[in-house]
Symmetry: C2
Subunit: 180 residues, 2 copies
């Protein structure tokens, strides 16, 4: 069955700092019409940084959930920025470590029903400490937790951030390929 | 360091069918002010259904990305609906299988920077075929793919939906507990 939906009109409802909200009219595969409300997002980059078998995690307050969460270092890409550059920049800003080499782990699509965001995830195991430099208005704590503890926190549900769960499991699935 | 952000004012910018967009003023940990734009979402439920070592996947057109994607059966929760009920309802609507037993796999937070969505993921291995009953305006194809093929599609990046990646890896990590 052909599944494509065709845009017949598009309206920007809100153009914000990190997201744009659209409401489009579309033609469905059977010719009938429907509305699609969705977010356009500049995309994110994240880094699974493992040093001496310890994973760099940032703990920050996530306003939408009203609580602190553990996540791998990450942030949104600047306009026109390359994902790898954004990933390394965020790693350095949030942990103080400058990556010296890294490989792509995966891209994830966090919630395909209403956002076009792509999160580009990299793995880094070599980096040197150059000092944190958080953005103005950014508050977070960086911690290094043993990989086994991180896995236990994922399995217990304490770590529930999608990019972090995807990154850790994909690393474990592929880590033999990364051994140098 | 204390990380909590305190709301000082909240404004609903858009109240839509699947999401509400807010723009709030907050007080940061150092007493300075900032804006937070974010989505309130009713939450989603998803099912990893494995039958004879084959995974039920739905292939559907995702308008925000402009392409078809493979995902595990899922959908948004109705107002006040229990996650398990939503998961089983979506499984039946999209695959035609009615779950007979299941366990919670995990909750994932798809993109904590701008949405409060929680996706509740269940694992089901016993279900009986009762016939699909897609919602009006819903177009998708259900396929059963061998677990090994699904894993290969995740590793190649062809499957990139966060809930699907999280569900499959968590199942593999915990599957010995599910053996009955």
């Amino acid at each position: 069955m052909k599944l494509t939906e065709k845009m017949t009109s598009s309206r920007l409802l809100y153009g914000g700092k990190i997201l744009k909200l659209y409401l489009d009219d579309v033609e469905l595969p059977d010719g009938s019409g429907a509305k699609r409300e969705y977010i356009r997002h500049c995309g994110g980059a994240a880094v699974l940084f493992i040093k001496d078998n310890k994973v760099a995690l940032v703990r920050q307050y996530r306003y939408a959930y009203g609580k602190e969460m553990y996540e791998i270092p990450a942030g949104k890409m600047d306009e026109g920025e390359e994902p790898l550059n954004a990933a390394w920049r965020e790693l350095e800003e949030e942990t103080g470590y400058r990556a010296e080499s890294g490989v792509k782990l995966n891209d994830i699509y966090p919630s395909p029903g209403y956002t076009d965001e792509i999160i580009h995830i990299y793995f880094v195991d070599r980096a040197k400490f150059v000092g944190e430099k958080l953005d103005d208005g950014e508050f977070l704590n960086c911690e290094f937790l043993p990989l086994e503890d991180v896995l236990a926190l994922i399995e217990s549900g304490e770590i529930c951030d999608a990019k972090t769960v995807c990154a850790v499991y994909k690393y474990l699935a592929l880590k033999d390929k990364f051994t140098r």
